[in-house]
């Protein structure tokens, strides 16, 4: 049992189970899954479908945070790629053409990589602190997205494009398979090759790693580029899900949710260690919480307070120092208060 509790996934999984248990008691329908129009239909499926963009962004963010960095610009990249893809589609004569959809996806993902590289260059070669370096694109990015869409919401009617975010394969939302593909790729790259170790070592001490023969700069740049492409894919999922691009609102504040997911998953903001599976659970916790709030009808005025409270509880339980404090206070109760006071005085 003690060994089980020490596992880094123990507390995140407990929290997720707790949330699901709450739903089981409150609305038993939560777990019902039916087959409608040939695909699975139910709240759990919704969580996977709507949580997909967040999970993808959070996976990219995990690797960035592992290098002791942070990427604030992911929300803007989400908006830009969605805008560019929809713009490309709406400009063409045949919106549903296979070549056109492919072109839209490719050019927006290329742009996402370029934006990620830009962040990486600022951080590694420019030596700017990550939070500031990515803040530049976070602020400018929404402007770029609005420039692409000229401030309008662009609607596209392309079933092929729509499939990315809203289609279903084998009864499950197609976006779930995208998430799985990215997750497994990231897991294999970092855990079955030395790359993960390199990232952790750069996060612990980038200069020492360089002296030890690791190309710190190249690692940093590629990590930000990967985060960029993850955000780009999330942008495509989000915009294709509603068949439209909204430069103002797409991916708004997703960077904060992603950071939260990473932290809930047990990755430290200080870098040097990361848990991709923890991030996955963290993102699922956030999306389950959101869906739960909608389902049980929390008044919109206090939604954020409820969310904040749950997140606070999750973070406190996660914190080893906090758990220890509660534990130790019990131990100290054996001693009389007076003895302690006089000792300190």
């Amino acid at each position: 049992m003690a060994r089980l509790m020490k596992h880094h996934l123990f507390w995140p999984l407990t929290m997720l189970a707790g949330l699901l248990l709450f739903n089981l008691c409150y609305s038993p329908d939560f777990f019902s899954i039916q087959i409608r129009n040939g695909h699975l239909y139910g709240s759990l499926i919704d969580i996977l479908n709507f949580g997909a963009p967040l999970i993808v962004v959070a996976i990219g963010m995990t690797l960035v945070i592992a290098t002791k960095g942070v990427d604030l610009s992911v929300g803007s990249i989400v908006a830009i790629t969605g805008a560019l893809a929809c713009m490309t589609l709406s400009k063409s004569s045949d919106q549903n053409g296979f070549a056109v959809v492919l072109l839209a996806i490719v050019i927006s993902l290329v742009l996402a990589i370029v934006l990620g590289l830009w962040n990486g260059l600022l951080v590694s070669l420019g030596g700017i602190q990550p939070i500031i370096a990515t803040l530049i694109l976070m602020v400018a990015g929404r402007g770029i997205a609005q420039l692409i869409t000229s401030g309008q919401i662009i609607t596209v009617s392309s079933p092929r494009y729509n499939y990315i975010g809203a289609g279903s394969l084998l009864g499950l939302p197609f976006s779930v398979f995208i998430v799985l593909a990215i997750f497994i790729t990231a897991l294999l790259l970092t855990r079955k090759s030395a790359l993960g170790l390199f990232i952790e070592s750069v996060g612990t001490n980038s200069e020492a790693s360089r002296l030890a023969g690791i190309r710190s700069r190249a690692i940093l740049i590629s990590v930000y580029a990967f985060c960029g492409i993850c955000a780009g894919i999330a942008g495509l999922i989000l915009s294709s899900n509603v068949s439209s691009a909204d430069g103002n609102n797409a991916g708004l504040w997703v960077e904060l949710d992603a950071i939260l997911a990473v932290v809930i998953g047990g990755t430290s903001m200080n870098g040097g260690r990361f848990y991709l599976s923890g991030t996955l659970i963290g993102a699922l916790i956030i999306q389950t919480l959101t869906t739960t709030i909608y389902m049980i009808g929390v008044p919109p005025e206090i939604t954020l307070v409820v969310k904040a409270f749950v997140v606070l509880v999750v973070c406190l339980i996660q914190s080893e120092a906090f758990r220890k404090k509660i534990f130790e206070r019990r131990k100290y109760r054996k001693y009389s208060d007076k003895a302690e006071v006089t000792r300190h005085a």
């Binding site: 239909y41 809203a166 899900n241």
Partner: protein
Amino acid sequence: MRKAKKVGVLTLLMSLMLVTACGSNNGATTKENANQPDKTTTEATVATDKKIVFGFSQVGAESGWRTANTTSIQDSAKEAGIDLKFSDAQQKQENQIKALRSFIQQKVDVIGFSPVVESGWDTVLKEAKDAGIPVILTDRSVDSTDTSLYVTFLGSDFVLEGQKAGEWLVEEYKDTTDQVNIVELQGTTGSAPAIDRKEGFEAAIKDHSNLKIITSQTGDFTRAKGKEVMQAFLKANKDIDVLYAHNDDMALGAIQAIEAAGLKPGVDIKIITVDGIKDGFQAASEGKINFIVECNPLFGGQLMEAVKGVVEGKELPKRTVTEEGTFTIEQAKEALPNRKY
């Protein structure tokens, strides 16, 4: 090592330049706005003695609604023969205050603006008052307690919009006493249109106990949120008869959710929305939205009349409501080809 350092410094400089370039660019546009009108003003006064000069500061170009609003104001000014000094605040209050000050310096005849936010306008409005320039607010209001700071507020009455939506619902279900389950997608929590559209709607249906709002949640005025929240509504409530959305975009997202659930929007679930953007009309003409309450951005004509009235010294009411219609499916079909935004 040294080389790498050089490259580092270079990228840093380049990015700095880029940032400052963006900054100065912004400055340049506001300066242009400030300088250019100066020239044209003098020219205009030389050419025709009594052409009215009207300075207008717009919020920005954040939505299709806003762009339509801007075009309407520019076109109507041209038609009415009013010399319009137009300035775009890019959704920043400081830009808007700068624009207002430059209008005061240029001694325009009338100032108009859609405030970006509600508060913080007292100082600059007093400056305008001291300079003897009347101010007209459009679309959004300010929270100043001193109402003498502006002549009139021309804009939509959001409460009335909510009421119209509610009245249609009452009319639609007047023959039944069965309970009608309504779900509501609210706008951004705390925003004036969200609060007022909710209030108006509730007031209109409150005497009919069978019309019941069973759940209400914010969809932030966006399609993505509208879809997500509607999905959850559909799971949590078995029997939804009516959806009331505070704007078209949320309804458009919700329609996708309803279709994904295997239901027919507009038939299985009746949909009422506010705004009347083109995509909304498209959906209505396909029978997916049953009733649209228009929130009209095309009030340029009314605005120019108000400007003329102020210059001629007419007494204007403190509140002028824009002319707004409502559209059923058939009316939407007819109106669709002529929609401008």
